[in-house]
Symmetry: C2
Subunit: 153 residues, 2 copies
């Protein structure tokens, strides 16, 4: 289960993607529109900025915006920043590997071999899905669900 922090972060990124190119958004606007505690969101956006995913400007007309187009930011990237490694166990993480202290022989540990498959399956999806893809899927679903309307005269 991902934390609220990560979920809030993804919600904010999605909104910033939707309005990409239309100038920065205020933290307070983002907080209100996504119903996220403002102070908590500040802290989340700051992390994303320090990781290079967002950029900010102070003063009037300031706020946050994506540092790169939505098609160039993967969901996996955002999750790793906010939540940590994707891997279910540290000994199969590509980005935060740590030797296993519990098992007898890491190379032949059955748990590790299965968890490696799980990690790879997750990474395959999350590293190849961008913010734009996620937005697109949402739009496609909206069309599909309310599609009937489009065919009415």
């Amino acid at each position: 289960m991902i934390s609220k922090k990560t979920k809030y972060g993804l919600q904010a990124l999605l909104l910033l993607s939707r309005e990409y190119g239309e100038g920065p958004l205020l933290i307070s606007d983002l907080a209100e529109r996504e119903r996220i505690p403002k102070k908590f969101l500040e802290y989340i956006l700051l992390q994303l900025k320090n990781a290079g995913v967002l950029q900010s400007r102070k003063g009037k007309g300031g706020g946050y915006s994506l540092a790169k187009p939505p098609a160039e930011i993967s969901v996996g990237r955002a999750i790793r920043i906010l939540e940590g490694p994707l891997a279910p166990v540290a000994c199969v993480s590509e980005t935060a590997y740590q030797r296993c202290t519990e098992c007898h022989d890491e190379a032949t540990c059955g748990i590790r071999l299965v968890m490696k498959d799980v990690r790879d399956a997750m990474a395959e999806i999350l590293d190849h899905t961008t913010l734009q893809d996620m937005l697109q899927r949402s739009e496609d679903e909206k069309k599909k669900l309310h599609g009937v309307v489009d065919f009415q005269i």
Copy 2:
């Protein structure tokens, strides 16, 4: 990341699978062989028993054993008992669904659509991998790594 509890539980299940059919194992033996704090392991095994995965006998000659053959217990089952739902967000869980309180429209939420794919990919692996499979993969890997030895005269 899975908790130590889940990892300990899987280690214990793997050992019980390896010795399936040879009578029950003592908690204290399991704890010592897998280097797990005994009291913590008691609590883990009890949960697995209450969920029907393990069976136990008290008194001399007692201990824990699998309630079913290792080929009939999936890794996903064990993880759900010890760790909770596989799904990254509750609104895509098959076994512990909860309506999303944060997003505006669950049906078209982009985060949810992507996380559903992740959940399905994880479940595909974990629900189709049994304790026996996990054991087998470990054995195969041992043979592969130390295989050279087998070909020596």
